[in-house]
Symmetry: C2
Subunit: 415 residues, 2 copies
């Protein structure tokens, strides 16, 4: 095909990613101890092992009376069993001891009758419903047993993990230090947003967008600045990024004469560029390189293509450099496509759509995108639909899965 | 029903939430100007309006030659059109001027031929394919026109919004100050994780979990400490929270004698508790209160019930106090249920499940949960399935939507 003469072959996304991940050396990140309130969304570096049983003792799961279950057998509202309320630490035959949720089960008792199923008369209670042994009792070690792994290394710590770790009596955990991702923009026409625009120039925004995407994942972004379209300058700035874990570049990766990033990367070491040209749209000119084990992701300079390229290639790599052993998903909604969209056979296409809600149903309106340089398409859109290589588009009215990268506007009917 | 004697009536989730949101007064948060790199995930306080067109000039969307489209009509690889390459600022009839992606379209030209569709011979080029007028040109104002709203107030700023704002030449935006959420735990048996455990006591974890959930949403958490089961003490600590935007309590909201939070809240002002007892499981004893316009969410002391109650009632309220006009979704995966689960008719049930992947398919394994006090159920689980009121459970093998609150473990076949 004439229009692809710059790429001898387009690699599929899956193959490109697999080749790349296999070629990079991901070093184990450093650990640091941190207090639980600062550990939210960090990645756990060492298994948390229960140092004792949780609960620490058999405890009541409800408010009520601890009893011997067999003393309640046959009880009903019409034929209640009567038990004597005790204040002692024991509660044997014929006795009931009042307990609140969480209280220890007294010796002699083996179940708890819920308060609602009793009636108190002085120092006696009527029991209106039977309980079976262990009913309404949280047994010692039932939540987590001593020696069990409570939270596995490689877990991104969400609120519930912090809660479990705290319940076990730990006030600190070991987490991984965040990886560093260096970002270099290239292009003669680019100006930093803090500067004045000259004729024919425009503001460079990819470093801001991609560093925000890195921070959303929990990585630290390092700014390598803007390089002119010059092999030596690009190579020199890339070298500044070698102390980091991942390098990302934007621009200079098409088939034009000024597309010099792959060339600059290849001057830095072996194996250099291992994938150039991916069967996807946008972001076809994406290149993936490895230099002495260090991953370099070479993205298009078009902001939309850069974002999609990051999503597909940088996100899974960065999750690994974070030390994660888990997959993160974007929110997905099922929505009906509002109009036909044509895509190209042989390209996995990321169609940007605006999801909105109407009468409780979700709709996905394709955002017309003339070029992947139109950054407003990713702000007017709040998600994308992936059209596989073997389809030529989307049909009006078809139901698709939309991967949300933004939010959906509230409408009256929905809270 | 005997077991519900404490609740005269259970309110449905939808009705409870609507009643609550209608009764609270949400005050507009304060604004603050912030630089773009610090604005990620903050909520925009004022519309960002384009102060000029984007692009600022007609520019090339590709690398190639700017030409007059009609000079290329009829061109093919076998019958190329030949044009003269010019270095001038103009490119009229019979001329072609080399341009890189983003370069201004020179006067006289109205389209760009991609580099791949040309062959250079000295100061001439062969054009191998025709272009139509405006082809490969990003027109001035096509991305965003001057005066257009680029990003609406109430938007949570994701990387792409920052990119668009930067492309428009703004280096700061006005965002809302985060709302404050005060959290009070209640219960005689609770001990702070920094303290020593006595007999029959356990560590209080709800403040940590709920404050982490608040921070995940972008709100600030204020710790009101732990109150004993005592109306006066609870009321006094609640008063400390009145300077905040939302108050959340845990514990003391069932039908036991020690369930004193609703009583304490009602001493503080009108209307007090407006919902007590919700047709859901877990979190049935949740109560919702408003005191002089201030929202108070009274959650169960069981950590799992507290999390689900937060999810259902606090999350939509906090999004409003953040100033958001958008809905946030949790990631959802479709998965097959691995075994039958029974639920109670008339209760919307939140079944915790562990989603895992096998041979490319997702499965949801229900995590057995004896009581909502078992915090490990929410760490062993990574999501929940909502079983509606009119169903009695889930059937083995049925496909369900799982709302993920954690991550899914990676498996070999998936990257």
């Amino acid at each position: 095909m004439v229009r692809l003469k710059g790429f001898q072959k387009l690699t599929s996304i899956d193959e490109a990613l697999q080749t790349f991940l296999n070629a990079v050396q991901i070093k184990k990140p450093k650990m640091v101890a941190t207090s639980l309130d600062l550990a939210l969304n960090r990645v756990l570096a060492e298994d948390v092992i229960a140092k004792e049983d949780l609960p620490r003792f058999d405890r009541s799961a409800v408010d009520g009376y601890a009893v011997r279950a067999r003393d309640t057998f046959g009880a009903s509202q019409f034929k209640p069993k009567v038990l004597r309320v005790t204040e002692e630490r024991e509660a044997g035959e014929g006795k009931a001891k009042q307990v609140w949720t969480g209280n220890p089960i007294p010796n002699g008792a083996d179940a708890v009758v819920m308060l609602e199923n009793t009636k108190r008369n002085g120092d006696k209670i009527e029991v209106w419903a039977p309980v079976t042994p262990a009913e309404n009792v949280s047994k010692k070690g039932e939540d987590i047993a001593k020696g069990e792994i409570a939270v596995k290394a490689g877990t991104r710590l969400k609120p519930q993990h912090l809660g479990l770790v705290a319940a076990l009596g730990f006030s600190k955990v070991k987490v991984f230090e965040p990886p560093k991702v260096a970002i270099l923009a290239t292009g003669n026409e680019l100006v930093s947003i803090s500067e004045e625009l000259g004729e024919g120039q425009f503001f460079e925004v990819n470093r801001l967008v991609l560093s925000a995407m890195c921070r959303d994942l929990g990585a630290e972004a390092v700014d390598l600045g803007i390089a002119k379209d010059n092999v030596a300058e690009i190579a020199s700035k890339l070298r500044d990024g070698f102390a980091t874990d991942v390098i990302i570049t934007t621009g200079g990766t098409s088939v034009g004469l000024s597309d010099l990033v792959p060339e600059a990367v290849n001057t830095l070491g072996k194996p250099g560029v291992i994938v150039h040209g991916v069967a996807m749209r946008p972001a076809m000119p994406t290149a993936l390189a490895v230099v002495v084990g260090k991953p370099i992701i070479i993205l298009s300079g078009n902001p939309v293509a850069a974002m999609i390229g990051f999503e597909v290639f940088a996100r899974p790599l960065i999750c690994r450099t974070l030390g994660m052993v888990q997959q993160e998903f974007r929110p997905i909604v099922s929505a009906k496509v509002t109009r036909k969209v044509a895509t190209t056979l042989g390209r996995k296409t990321f169609v940007r759509v605006r999801v909105f809600q109407k009468n409780g149903e979700f709709f996905a309106e394709p955002v017309s995108a003339k070029g992947s340089g139109m950054i407003s398409t990713v702000t007017k859109a709040n998600g994308y639909v992936i059209v596989p290589e073997n389809r030529e588009g989307l049909v009006e009215g078809e139901t698709v899965a939309v991967y949300l990268f933004g939010y959906v506007e509230m409408n009256g009917s929905n809270v």
